[in-house]
């Protein structure tokens, strides 16, 4: 067979012709690491699809991972330079040194400052007073849910707006006993969830200079209550004692299965409770339990943040700016049943898209609790190294609950763990 030079040239021309349209419509591919508590991932995908329709040059790939991976794997990935362009995170300050400052890429940074300023501070590095690194996907507030049907069946009156933690423990125990359910009162295994109990008892968490000073009298009182409730069987061992270290555990399944009278968690559970519980029983959000010092919940939330390692900061900023726009954030919040962390939206009525009356009531109840959050709670949430304090609290109080450590030893260990962690971070 005779070799001809025409064929390779024609093939090359054909290949180039095929490549031209591809390069003309080349897309920037952005990766977003996301976790979902309920159905908000689907809402986000839908919103991103609409963004992509109007911005054909950008494609956002959502990598949906378990919540645990956000806290455990994402930091390692980001640190090793293998992180995504954006992620939904909850350790807002802990990862701040890896965030991208979006300011130079945003068309209107003033909009961000006007509507997100208190929350932007949670994501800034120490010493940074103006950076914009992300947008809160929701504002969360901790609080209690009760199984109203069980309370009614047991004929136990629901404690009032100023009821103390002890009142709630007593009422929940009475309900559990009457209804013959295994769990009276449960709290998520989290230092963040424990904080309102401590602040209500007078815990300050910080000294006058703003440095961590955890084991004060208020914290000690709350720790004693937690340990005693486990000893008395008011709190189930499954949640706090049923694990080691810092692992998070919730009691949402037990609550949804009508095995629990009172569940202290937060408003992020509303969406899944509306979906899972349906008409099975009546559930409702109750006022924050009180202590001698306060009746506070703990603020928090998740944020969509951009990472400095991205190769496409302009496109990332476009996605973030789209999501942060009032209309999009309003729709996201209404469909996900989230409280928006947007000062403009906070002044306007939201039409939460749910047929569930308990869900609507719960959202309103949480919205009212935002105004009652204690300043210590805001300070704690805004502290960049608060995860160190949360983790030490969970690990050591669990050991006190199971009897491995005395309460005194546990409190000393909490202080030591936090000091050690800060020392390691400073190296």
């Amino acid at each position: 067979m005779r070799t001809t030079w025409r064929n390779p040239i024609l093939a090359a021309i054909g290949l180039i012709a095929l490549m031209v349209p591809a390069s003309a419509y080349a897309q920037v591919e952005l990766r977003l690491t996301w976790y979902s508590d309920g159905g908000e991932g689907d809402v986000m995908r839908d919103l991103l699809n609409r963004f992509e329709q109007k911005n054909a040059d950008v494609k956002v790939i959502m990598d949906v991972v378990a919540f645990r991976a956000i806290n455990e794997n994402l930091p390692v990935m980001v640190q090793s330079g293998q992180g995504p362009d954006m992620a939904r995170v909850v350790d807002l300050g802990g990862l701040s040194k890896f965030y991208l400052d979006l300011t130079p890429h945003l068309p209107d940074p003033a909009y961000w400052h006007a509507n997100f300023e208190p929350f932007l501070a949670w994501m800034r590095r120490p010493g940074d007073a103006a950076g914009i690194s992300g947008v809160m996907t929701q504002l969360t507030v901790t609080g209690g849910f009760i199984n109203k049907t069980l309370f009614d069946q047991a004929k136990i009156p629901v404690p009032g707006a100023t009821a103390s933690w002890e009142d709630w423990a007593k009422a929940a125990s009475a309900v559990a006993k009457a209804a013959k359910i295994p769990m009276a009162l449960a709290m998520d295994r989290s230092g963040h969830r424990f904080a309102p109990l401590a602040i209500d008892q007078g815990a300050k968490y910080f000294d006058a200079q703003g440095n961590p000073a955890i084991a004060d009298a208020g914290f000690r009182k709350a720790a004693e209550m937690l340990v005693d409730w486990h000893k008395q069987g008011i709190m189930p061992k499954e949640i706090w004692a049923g694990a080691s270290g810092t692992a998070y555990k919730g009691a949402n399944e037990e609550f949804a299965n009508s095995q629990l009278a009172y569940y202290y968690s937060g408003n992020w559970q509303i969406g899944q409770f509306a979906k899972q519980i349906g008409d099975t029983f009546d559930w409702t959000v109750v006022p924050e339990p009180c202590g001698p010092a306060a009746c506070t919940g703990m603020p928090g939330g998740a944020a969509l943040v951009a990472f400095a390692g991205t190769k496409h900061p302009k496109e990332v900023a476009r996605v973030m700016d789209y999501f942060a726009s009032e209309a999009v954030l309003k729709e996201f919040s209404e469909r996900s049943l989230f409280i928006p962390a947007h000062l403009g939206l906070a002044k306007k009525p939201l039409e939460f898209r749910t047929d569930s009356r308990p869900a609507r009531d719960a959202l309103n109840a949480y919205a009212q609790q935002v105004a009652k959050i204690d300043k210590v709670a805001f300070q704690y949430q805004g502290y960049a190294n608060n995860r160190l304090m949360f983790n030490a609290t969970v690990t050591r109080l669990t050991q006190a609950i199971t009897g491995e450590l005395t309460l005194d030893q546990a409190l000393q260990r909490i202080e030591a763990d936090v000091a050690e962690g800060l020392k390691e971070k400073a190296k």
Binding site: N71, E72, N73, P75, V76, Q79, S80, D91, G94, P182, P236, K237, E238, A241, G242, A243, S244, G245, T246, A247, Q259, R387, L388, N391, T395, T398, Q399, I401, T402, G403, E404, L405, Q409, R413, G421, E424, K425, K427
Partner: protein, 340 residues
């Protein structure tokens, strides 16, 4: 085979073998010229290095390099993953792990959870390995006898080995949780349910039980092979002499099974020291730190907590590595003294 003794499948097998042989021959013919050229270039003496080079490269990348990195992390501090940003701290990580006021009281140690993990691992290894070797031996002895359904029982005992440790743990968690199958059974017979995984003693018991359940089949199989390699004539001779059964076991079976027992013991020891997956899923290391083992401590310190104290985790893993090295050397030493 048919009654005439002719295998009807043979022509098909023969054709397949011929095809395979042709492919193999073709490949060899294709490979031979470059290999010959290479041998002429580097000499026959260096050729073995060429053949083991790919394997060495894989070993170097995935075993040696991480080991060297681990040593680096072990002697440096901070929370950064970047080697260059980690300050050298000498033996501080090791000293921190090993500093104790009273070595019998983990609460008095600077890293109390490391010592709890160490003691828990020691307790687990001692009980799990000894019980597993005994149970595997007993099972192998039974399965070596001519019992009804022997093949079925051999399969039954081996089946859990095929399951992923996570699946094993999830199955048992379903059985043992508060509203699990075991408590449902107890309640059905009017007995009070027990918090199997929430009482430290019970949690430790179930961690050992589940681990034995999951791995016993493997060791039983090894011992069974060992039993079947003992010459039958010895038993026949003993039978003719009227030797009692227990004496046959002590004087024939056990001595001749010893090399196999040693393999089982060392493999079991190494596996037990590394215990993590199934217990982590089953109990999460709890209640408290009751089932926290060394590997979980390393994992949590280095990767699971938000603050990744990689130096401490690396130092702990080096201590664990040294423990395994001692066990392996022990195996080699004992193996040398045992007749094959």
């Amino acid at each position: 085979m048919n009654p005439g003794g002719v295998d009807l499948n043979r022509p098909r097998e023969g054709a397949a073998a011929a095809a395979l042989s042709a492919v193999y021959g073709g490949l060899m013919r294709a490979v031979e010229p470059p290999i010959n050229r290479l041998q002429r270039a580097i000499g026959a003496a260096r050729m073995p290095y060429f053949f083991i080079a790919p394997n060495l490269a894989i070993f170097g990348i995935f075993v040696i390099t991480p080991m060297l990195l681990n040593i680096w992390y072990g002697f440096t501090g901070g929370t950064s993953i970047e080697l260059a940003s980690r300050p050298f701290v000498g033996g501080e990580n090791f000293a921190s792990l090993l500093r104790c006021a009273d070595y019998l009281d983990p609460a008095s140690c600077e890293r109390d959870r490391f010592w709890r993990g160490l003691y828990n691992t020691g307790f687990f290894v001692a009980l799990q390995v000894s019980l597993m070797v005994l149970l595997s031996l007993a099972t192998a002895l039974v399965l070596n006898r001519r019992i009804i359904g022997r093949g079925f029982f051999r399969a039954v005992y081996f089946y859990p080995v095929l399951l992923s440790p996570v699946v094993v743990a999830l199955i048992w968690k379903w059985v043992l949780q508060r509203s699990g199958a075991l408590n449902a059974g107890l309640e059905a017979v009017g007995t009070t349910p027990v918090q199997w995984l929430l009482e430290p003693g019970w949690a430790r018991f179930w961690a050992i039980f589940v681990s034995i359940w999951a791995h016993m089949g493997f060791y039983t199989l090894i011992l069974l092979a060992g039993l079947q390699s003992i010459p039958a004539e010895l038993y026949e001779a003993a039978q003719m002499d009227g030797t009692p059964g227990w004496r046959v076991f002590w004087r024939i079976t056990l001595p001749l099974l010893m090399p196999t027992m040693l393999v089982v013991l060392v493999l079991g020891l190494i596996r037990a020291v590394q215990v993590f997956d199934e217990v982590y899923v089953l109990t999460g290391g709890g209640p408290g730190s009751a089932t926290l083992f060394m590997v979980q401590f390393i994992y949590e310190t280095g990767f699971s907590n938000q603050l990744h104290i990689l130096g401490l985790a690396a130092a702990a893993s080096m201590i664990l590595g040294l423990t395994l090295l001692v066990l392996t050397l022990l195996q080699l030493r004992l193996g040398q003294g045992t007749p094959a």
